[in-house]
């Protein structure tokens, strides 16, 4: 009996069941070869090195590259009825082969009676079927067309995505009078 109380010492028997070491077998070798191969690919720069595409000196979502193209779909609709449904104001499709970023969001109401944050109007920015984080339930107006607000968390767009900007007028919003809902999204695409 060893000093540790384990017969023949702790080097022969495992300390507990979790310390059992199974001898690596042929299949571990297969998995290890796969891991080594992908590590070599990853250390060499990843699969992007093998794929055709454009390389940029700086991240294209931070600074628009020379090949980039700006977009600024701005649209407006008259104040919708207070039916509690989402009404589409503007939308666009990201061109195939291009990724993009939205750096500025404009969501405005030009009529009277709107109190910020009251919930009478709610703007929703949707990418395909999901709502963009922090822009899916926007109850305050953001920026203006003359003074656009640069948002801190850029919204990334992928090739082929459908971008839609909705407004929702709640059923109880009877204080809103006239005016139009204005929505705009500004940013740029770059070739993938």
């Amino acid at each position: 009996m060893s000093a540790s109380g384990i017969p023949l010492g702790r080097f022969v028997f495992p300390l507990d069941l979790n310390n059992r070491a199974y001898v690596p077998n042929l299949f571990n070798g297969c998995l290890q070869r796969e891991t080594n191969m992908w590590e070599r690919v990853q250390n060499g720069g990843g699969l992007k090195l093998l794929c055709p595409g454009t390389k940029y000196q700086t991240p294209p979502w931070v600074r628009m590259p020379p090949q980039g193209r700006r977009f600024s779909p701005i649209s407006s609709i008259s104040l919708p009825t207070n039916d509690g449904n989402d009404h589409l104001v503007t939308s666009f499709l990201v061109p195939l082969g291009y990724d993009g970023v939205i750096v500025t969001v404009v969501a405005n109401y030009s009529g009277q009676g709107f109190v910020e944050g009251s919930g009478d109007l709610t703007w929703r920015l949707q990418l395909n079927e999901r709502y963009v984080k922090d822009y899916g339930n926007l109850q305050t107006s953001v920026g203006s067309l003359t003074i656009p607000t640069n948002i801190q968390n850029s919204i990334f767009l992928l090739s082929g995505q459908l971008v839609q900007f909705f407004v929702n007028r709640s059923v109880g919003s009877v204080s809103l009078v006239g005016g139009r809902i204005v929505c705009g999204l500004l940013g740029w695409y770059w070739p993938r």
């Binding site: 070491a21 998995l31 990843g46 079927e129 709502y131 899916g136």
Partner: protein, 193 residues
């Protein structure tokens, strides 16, 4: 060169009597892709959930993000999703289904996502009828160092929903040989033994 017969694998998959191993079904064919992983030694199952706190709801029209860290060399081989409960904007309980949510997972290192875009959770929740538990990937996905995986769940309704996404990993165990153990013992005992 002759064929080498392999022994029957005995693990949790083998013991599930609810499964039908008929040839044209997806599940047994996906399970066949796990054959090497199931036969390898020194891999253990490790499951991760999102959100970690099951009481943390996904807010209306919001997207939940989280990241986990697994050991480099782990394999993601399956997942499952459960939609638990929901409350409407007034705070009253309301029925909910997984179709109210969208899910996505991504290898942070390579940026390669599990789905091309957010996938409807309704098709990703196993119920032992239309889909078996866990939902297996067509091939296990290798996660390299640093082993970071991000997951997102998007709520597209006005209701506040509690749900959970479960990711199944096979994690390589660290082999502790005698020299390593002796070094650790010396470290723990301050050099005396």
């Amino acid at each position: 060169m002759s064929d080498i017969p392999l022994k029957q694998i005995v693990d949790g998959f083998s013991w599930n009597s609810n499964l039908l191993y008929t040839q044209p079904r997806f599940w047994p064919n996906a399970l066949a892709q796990l054959d090497v992983l199931r036969r390898a030694a020194n891999y253990r199952a490790r499951w991760f959930v999102f959100p970690q706190d099951i009481d943390q709801p996904i807010q209306p029209y919001d997207t939940y993000y989280d990241q986990l860290e697994v050991n480099g060399g782990s394999y993601l081989f399956g997942y499952n999703f459960a939609c638990i409960s929901a409350t409407d904007p007034n705070g009253d309980p309301v029925d909910t289904t997984p179709s109210d949510l969208l899910i996505q997972a991504e290898d942070s290192c390579t940026g390669i996502p599990l789905f091309l875009d957010y996938a409807n959770a309704n098709g990703n929740a196993a119920n032992f009828q239309s889909r078996c538990l866990p939902i297996l990937l067509s091939q296990p996905r290798l996660i390299l160092d640093p082993g970071l995986v991000t997951a997102s769940i998007s709520n597209r309704t006005k209701n506040t929903i509690t749900c959970q996404l479960l990711l199944h990993f096979a994690e390589p165990c660290k082999i502790i040989d005698e020299s390593t153990r002796a070094r650790d013992v010396r470290f723990l005992t301050g050099g005396t033994r």
